[in-house]
């Protein structure tokens, strides 16, 4: 026979609708967001996983300073074979970084399109609209760049001043994430994109006098090579190319190519973040249930004692008190999943499709996602609530009958100094009696504050980072050359630059370190302590890796397969911003360090634009080009930030409401007594609500430094595997906003409590309760 106690469920639900509705809403909204996201992420993962074969994605690419000859390429193929990697195909994959302008109504902003000749054997494109370019004046443009720059099929655009008609909107498989340089921290979808033209179109661009990047893509016939086997073979290939007289400027394995791997990594990292977010909310929610159910058990202590004395088993009562939390959890999981799959999947997909150039989307069912968003949350919620219940129900029937289930009265029942005013002592008693509620509330406030502070600090952090990068570019133009080129310009300074790799350790991959050789007493690199063998480290390197004074750092030269060592000499030999990841030495030391000829250089720093032979020019870096990173983040994170702020406020609201409501509910009888004695509602509110207000305010303020510390550690851990150093930058305004938003949310809740106190009936005091 079913327990007659079940008849209490609808009444309990009705009487505590706010409590169950709050928990249900928070859980279902979180599950909806998470399941929507994870489903989209899983589907995108499947699409990306299919891409290497479906779109013939390259295994590696290398760039030579000048066009590689057939002999040089054959030498590389032979080297791959000799290295045990089997046959390899090398495809010409040249590109121009062309200045882009709308043919009509251009806003004058600098934009770059990396233009390839339409590829048919490697790194194939997926067309979303239109068709492949056929005529010499046709171009197909990347979907994300097109969206962000309002480009449509049929529009006329200019590349290097040449007019082209947009015939298609597409995505390329080797530029799923639009990184202009592989070492960039983030994508740039606003001012950088890719495009395809026909063979004749490519020739038309060559005819403008610009030099393409002589990039070649490698694809091994053996598709089962490990990354290690592949990279070993690639190094041998590069050595063979060098031996054959080619100058290799760049080698990038597909595993290190951010254009190919970044989107998948980002989706995977975000999936972990969403899952962690979900479980944190579920665990805190479970503790809320434990606190609230403990309150109910204390309240119903005599009833439980009577039922136990009458022969009810503890198990039956535990099941009874567990039933509603479990039902709410299951209902929230079901509703959350349905809403997630039907309503949230699309917006979540758009979060990525707005930033990444991925082929057309199709949803894929995942049992793993289902388990993650349904089975595990419910199991976690029920498990923690059950443990709390078992602990609370572990008393004897007599203890229940005597209301001795709460140790609070004994443990926290110490005398308070009588010199304190009565209201002060009363408020402290309220606080002590509800310590469990307030502790859980503190965790809830901390969690919501962290989410909110993260949301409010991420843009300032990225803007600050972009400012640092802007400041890292010491001259108005930092020209990098493919080979030394002498010019006559007094204010231009020669420098040399080279990239090395630093092993981050703990399987976190390698950091690209830029080594600069600069003139001593440079006009651009001011106060840089270089020369006489001294090496200066960018402050970003020191901040990220914490090198000790005198520590020797090994830097790997992947093109020469050599390890080079530099020593860190302490604070006096640091330079630049906290995002400066370079190592500096004098130009002479640089050439000695790398074994170059004396006087070698491959760049000019200049505050004036230089008229350099385009054949020699590899890149022109300006401070303004760094600003796009800040803008990019604003664009990418805007929707996400709105969502996170909304979620934070919702979490604030639910936690504050539930836990502080429980304080009022537990005190309902005492409040009723006070009304009988003649206390005014306002006086009662002052005694109870002020205790809560003070606790909320203190929690909000006290948790801020903890959160900032936590966020800093989290940021470091999250970003360790990425190039660059981003210091979490929390403006005082963001902290003030978190406190203000948290407190404003609480004020809304407090108004409800004042109303609630008014509604506590006098009759409650008159009810007989032994």
């Amino acid at each position: 026979m079913a327990s007659p106690l079940r008849k209490r469920f609808p009444r309990e639900l009705k009487n505590n609708l706010g409590k169950y509705l709050g928990i249900f809403l928070l859980m279902s909204v979180t599950i909806a967001l998470t399941s929507g996201f994870l489903l989209a992420a899983h589907s995108i993962g499947v699409i990306i996983d299919d891409m290497p074969e479906k779109y013939s994605i390259e295994d590696a690419r290398f760039t030579t300073a000048f066009e590689a000859t057939d002999e040089q390429l054959n030498a590389a193929v032979d080297a791959a074979h000799d290295a045990g990697a089997g046959s390899a195909d090398i495809f010409r994959n040249w590109s121009f970084d062309a200045d882009f302008n709308h043919a009509k109504g251009d806003d004058g902003r600098d934009r770059t399109l990396r233009v390839y000749q339409h590829r048919t054997q490697v790194d194939l494109a997926a067309y979303a609209e239109g068709r492949v370019p056929e005529a010499a004046d046709e171009v197909a443009v990347d979907r994300v760049f097109a969206t962000n720059n309002g480009i449509t099929v049929g529009e006329e655009v200019e590349l290097f001043g040449q007019r082209f008609t947009v015939c298609g909107i597409m995505t390329t498989s080797d530029n799923q994430a639009l990184f202009q340089n592989n070492s960039d921290f983030t994508v740039n979808t606003l001012t950088f994109g890719v495009a395809e033209v026909s063979e004749s179109g490519f020739a038309a661009l060559e005819a403008t006098g610009h030099q393409p990047a002589y990039t070649y893509s490698v694809r091994f016939v053996d598709r089962d090579l490990t990354v290690a086997q592949r990279t070993d073979a690639e190094k041998d290939m590069m050595r063979a190319l060098s031996d054959a007289g080619a100058t290799v400027d760049d080698l990038t394995d597909s595993s290190a190519n951010q254009g190919i791997g970044y989107a998948a990594d980002d989706v995977s990292g975000d999936s972990t973040m969403w899952s962690v977010l979900l479980y944190m909310i579920i665990v805190i929610m479970a503790f809320v249930f434990v606190v609230l159910t403990s309150g109910t058990i204390e309240e119903e202590s005599a009833i439980i004692g009577t039922l136990l004395a009458s022969g009810y088993r503890r198990r039956e009562l535990v099941t009874h008190y567990l039933a509603l939390p479990a039902a709410v959890g299951i209902a929230a999981a079901v509703v959350g999943n349905v809403a997630g799959y039907t309503l949230m999947s699309e917006p979540m997909r758009n979060l990525y499709y707005g930033s990444y150039s991925l082929p057309p989307y199709y949803a894929t069912w995942s049992w793993g996602v289902f388990a993650q968003t349904t089975v595990l949350p419910v199991a976690t919620l029920v498990g923690i609530t059950l443990l709390g219940l078992l602990r609370k129900m572990g008393h004897t029937p007599l203890e229940f009958l005597r209301h001795e289930t709460s140790k609070g009265g004994v443990k926290r029942g110490f005398a308070l100094p009588e010199r304190l005013s009565f209201p002060a002592r009363f408020r402290m008693r309220v606080f002590l009696r509800n310590l469990g509620n307030f502790a859980t509330l503190f965790v809830g406030i901390g969690f919501a504050s962290m989410l909110l502070l993260f949301s409010l600090a991420i843009l300032p952090t990225m803007t600050h980072y972009a400012e640092n990068l802007h400041n890292n570019v010491v001259a108005e133009h930092m020209y990098t050359l493919k080979a030394p080129l002498e010019i006559d310009n007094a204010q231009a300074e020669k420098y040399a630059v080279y990239s090395l790799e630093y092993d981050r350790g703990e399987g976190s991959g390698t950091e690209t370190i830029t080594v600069y050789g600069v003139p001593e007493d440079s006009r651009y690199w001011n106060d840089l302590a270089v020369g006489d063998g001294h090496v200066a480290f960018g402050n970003g390197l020191i901040d990220k890796f914490g090198f000790a004074d005198g520590q020797t750092i090994s830097l790997y030269d992947k093109y020469e397969d050599e390890t080079r060592k530099v020593a860190y000499e302490g604070d006096a030999y640091t330079w630049g911003t906290k995002s400066d990841m370079a190592v500096y030495m004098s130009l002479d030391d640089f050439n000695r360090f790398f074994g170059n000829d004396a006087g070698y250089f491959n760049g000019y720093a200049s505050d004036q634009a230089l008229d350099l032979d385009a054949r020699y020019l590899a890149s022109d870096l300006t401070p303004e080009s760094m600003d796009a990173i800040g803008e990019q983040f604003v664009g990418m994170m805007d929707d996400m930030i709105g969502m996170l702020v909304g979620l934070s406020v919702f979490i604030f609201l639910v936690f504050m409401y539930l836990l502080t409501k429980s304080v009022i509910d537990r005190s309902a009888r005492a409040i009723s007594y006070m009304k009988v004695f003649g206390y005014r509602d306002s006086e009662i509110s002052r005694l109870y609500v002020r205790s809560i207000t003070l606790t909320v305010a203190v929690s909000l303020v006290v948790c801020q430094p903890l959160i900032i510390g936590g966020l800093t550690l989290l940021f470091r851990a999250m970003l360790l595997a990425y190039n660059g150093n981003i210091e979490i930058y929390v403006p005082m305004m963001a902290i003030a906003e978190v406190i203000a938003i948290g407190f404003a949310t609480y004020l809304a809740v407090a108004l409800l409590h004042i109303r609630r106190i008014k509604r506590v009936p006098l009759a409650l005091a008159l009810k007989v309760q032994e």
Binding site: G409, F426, R433, Y673, A765
Partner: protein, 277 residues
């Protein structure tokens, strides 16, 4: 049941607590309260006047009349015992006098305040200024100490009795830092009386104050109430279904089925310590 020697000792203790409190401390509550006592002795003016009081619950067929045309008067400084079986309307009468429930018809006047015309907010002020409540199950706030429970109502009064003196006179001074759960039922009820008394109310309403206590403790509590009435001069209404208690009262009211069945002035009062049942 005969007189219990322990009760007499206990009463003596209570008195001695009151006198041992020291002239300054002990005189304050007494000085304030003697005016009630003096007034009561010189001219037995009515303090609680109830006229044609009616109260019913429910509507239509479910309508139940709980009090029907009850008229009674209790003079200032009197102890009034209200008797009656369960369901006779005793508690409802007390709740109406206490301003906890609305009157259907009739009138209640307490110390010149006509309750019928008061708003819920004004009723709150009335309770604050004039009433003290003592309940059967003490109704102490469990997480406040004995002292703090008394301070709950002391806080309401601009001129409360000194709490420490009161604690001494109630025999609770040694227990002031304990929580209700840590003291006996009798001590809890003393605390409840102290809580009612500390704001020096004109009217003390006691709902079955000995209903949860054993014989000996009940007598101690009744003696305490007698002392309170004598020392502080407040008017006391005790609701009980213990018939023996009527002997300590100045006035006995009896309700039966919502109607006043007895209204007697008790000319041969017994001291509480002499009560037996």
């Amino acid at each position: 049941m005969g007189k219990n020697p322990a009760t007499a000792t206990s009463t003596a203790d209570l008195d001695s607590h009151a006198t041992e409190a020291g002239p300054a401390a002990a005189s304050t509550p007494r000085a304030t309260s003697t005016s009630h006592a003096a007034d009561a002795a010189s001219s037995p003016a009515p303090y609680l006047q109830v006229r044609d009081l009616c109260k019913h619950y429910g509507e239509g067929e479910a309508r139940a009349t709980v009090l029907h045309d009850v008229t009674a008067t209790v003079n200032k400084g009197e102890i009034c015992v209200l008797l009656g079986p369960s369901g006779s309307g005793k508690s409802t009468f007390l709740n109406l006098v206490g301003g906890l429930e609305a009157i259907d018809s009739g009138s209640i006047n307490v110390g010149g305040t006509e309750l019928t015309s008061l708003t819920p907010k004004q009723l709150g002020e009335y309770r604050r200024d004039k009433l003290g409540f003592v309940f059967q199950f003490y109704n102490l706030v469990p997480d406040l100490t004995i002292r703090e429970n008394i301070e709950v109502t002391a806080h309401l009064s601009a001129n409360p009795l000194p709490v420490d003196d009161l604690l001494r006179s109630l025999g609770l001074y040694e227990h002031r830092a304990k929580f209700p759960r840590q003291v006996s039922g009798g001590q809890q009820q003393r605390c409840a009386i102290g809580r009612a008394l500390v704001k020096n109310p004109g009217l003390l309403l006691c709902d079955e104050p000995t209903g949860a206590l054993d014989y000996q403790t009940s007598k101690e509590i009744l003696e305490l109430m007698e002392n309170v009435n004598r020392d502080y001069g407040c008017t006391v209404v005790i609701v009980t279904h213990n018939d023996a208690i009527k002997h300590m009262a100045h006035r006995v009211l009896r309700l039966r089925d919502g109607k006043l069945a007895e209204d007697t002035a008790n000319v041969e009062r017994m001291a509480a310590r002499d009560l037996t049942w």
